[in-house]
């Protein structure tokens, strides 16, 4: 079971086809699979449907694939940080399906867990529920949402071993664990590649069964969207 690939480009080789659906982890630019996104850009594959909470920013993350016009459809909850996105959307080059963030997370979780659909109260009485089945449970209305499953999931983890077991770091976890479970092939980039057995089995977030390919990306560039700090003087207040 050889899962480790020597570069991001090699780790996605043979997986891609025009028009396919790709999940991409991250919240904003936090916990995004930057190296794998660059590899997708280099591959030139296009007409992609991308499932990702956000669409990156101009020049970073999924913003790169917008620049190269490889995306034709996005399934996201919020895309406010990207001017190029707005341009392509208004020009009719890009389709968008907005999902409430929790519904998006749960649709992905359901897809990975073999659950075809579920009922949620999120979006009842709003445009999100239009055309969907609404059913009453315990006197309350719920809307049916269907599962999401992709051809390929791109994941960013902090630590991984040769077995594909993954550990995430702080809020860079976000959508990565569910997406890792909800694709035919999951490719993970990891900041630290460690020998199998060196991660405490009790501390593994994503078990290796969900990860087909893994690539070591040490010291990835991590951008901060909103750098906010407090002054030391405020400490003493």
């Amino acid at each position: 079971m050889q899962k480790v690939y020597s570069s991001a480009v090699e780790s996605i080789a043979g997986l891609l086809a025009d028009g396919m659906t790709i999940m991409s982890g991250g919240f904003g630019l936090c916990g995004i699979p930057s190296a794998l996104i660059e590899a997708i850009q280099l591959s030139g594959v296009n007409g992609l449907t991308i499932i990702s909470n956000n669409a990156g920013v101009d020049g970073a993350g999924l913003g790169l694939l917008l620049e190269s016009r490889q995306i034709s459809r996005m399934v996201s909850s919020y895309v406010g940080e990207n001017k190029l996105f707005a341009q392509q959307y208004l020009a009719g080059e890009l389709q968008i399906e907005f999902n409430p963030q929790g519904t998006l997370a749960e649709r992905i979780r359901a897809g990975g867990a073999g659950i075809p659909a579920f009922f949620t109260k999120t979006g009842v009485g709003t445009s999100v529920a239009e055309g969907k089945e609404v059913r009453r449970f315990n006197g309350e209305e719920f809307v049916m949402e269907t599962a999401l499953f992709a051809d390929v999931a791109l994941i960013h983890a902090w630590k991984g071993d040769f077995e594909g077991n993954l550990v995430y770091r702080k809020t860079a976890r976000n959508f990565n664990p569910m997406m890792a479970t909800a694709a035919k092939t999951t490719v993970a980039e990891v900041e630290c590649l460690v020998s199998t057995g060196s991660i405490d089995p009790d501390q593994i977030h994503t078990p290796g069964i969900f990860v087909s390919r893994i690539v070591h990306v040490p010291d990835p560039e991590k951008r901060i969207e909103q750098r906010t700090v407090r002054r030391l003087a405020e400490e003493t207040v």
């Binding site: 919240f27 895309v79 406010g80 860079a172 976890r173 569910m178 901060i224 969207e225």
Partner: protein, 213 residues
């Protein structure tokens, strides 16, 4: 004299009870964290996957892996925990979060709330707002009473809804309204901001309300 943003945030902070798990939205709601009364122990939830959110970090201690739902760098506390987005919204949808304080473009007298899109303008998406208003036990809205002289407290929202019958309390720069969602009797005016006349509130409010000051 209407309330300032800070005074509105301070008023909203009075809705927080000891031991509450609270989600704060972007804008004025973020300021609420600065006015939590002393002796009240609160845990802040950030929907991107964190409970026990700390203050902004000191300069030099920013960590790109540690951000809030507004994508701002933040810090952790001894009680902090991290989890996935699915777990985070399980907390929200499952009714485990006590209080959500958020902004709005419009609120109707039955508690309908609109804050995510304006038809004809570029839509950025609802993010977690629809999940929060539907799932959190109590939703408190903090907003300006009017937008460019247009009333925001209405009989019915004209903008696409974020949630139906979800708001319990509205704090504006002029007044505080309670919404009894089950009675269908409109809003209840509970407080006037310092120096604000009832006449002014009547003039600037389209929602029907009873006075119970």
């Amino acid at each position: 004299m209407a309330w300032t943003r800070e005074q509105m945030a301070a008023r909203a902070a009075q809705e927080i009870r000891d031991g509450f798990y609270v989600n704060l939205g972007i804008g004025i709601p973020t300021l609420v964290a600065n006015y939590v009364p002393t002796g009240i122990d609160v845990r802040l939830h950030s929907e991107n996957g964190m409970l026990g959110m700390g203050p902004f970090p000191l300069e030099g201690e920013e960590d790109p892996d540690l951000i809030n739902a507004g994508k701002q760098t933040i810090s952790e506390l001894p009680e902090t925990s991290f989890f996935s987005s699915a777990d985070s919204f399980g907390m929200v949808r499952g009714g485990h979060i006590d209080l959500s304080i958020l902004g709005a473009m419009q609120v109707a007298e039955n508690g309908d709330l609109a804050n995510w899109m304006i038809p004809g303008k570029m839509v950025k998406g609802m993010g977690g707002a629809m999940d929060l208003v539907a799932g959190v036990r109590r939703v408190v809205v903090v907003m300006e009473h009017e937008a460019k002289s247009e009333p925001k407290l209405l009989k019915e929202c004209t903008l696409p809804l974020t949630g139906r019958g979800v708001a319990s309390l509205v704090i504006t720069d002029l007044a505080v309204f309670e919404i009894d969602k089950n009675s269908g009797r409109g809003m209840i005016l509970r407080e006037l901001a310092h120096g604000v006349a009832l006449e002014e509130v009547r003039e600037k409010t389209r929602a029907s309300f009873v006075e119970c000051l």
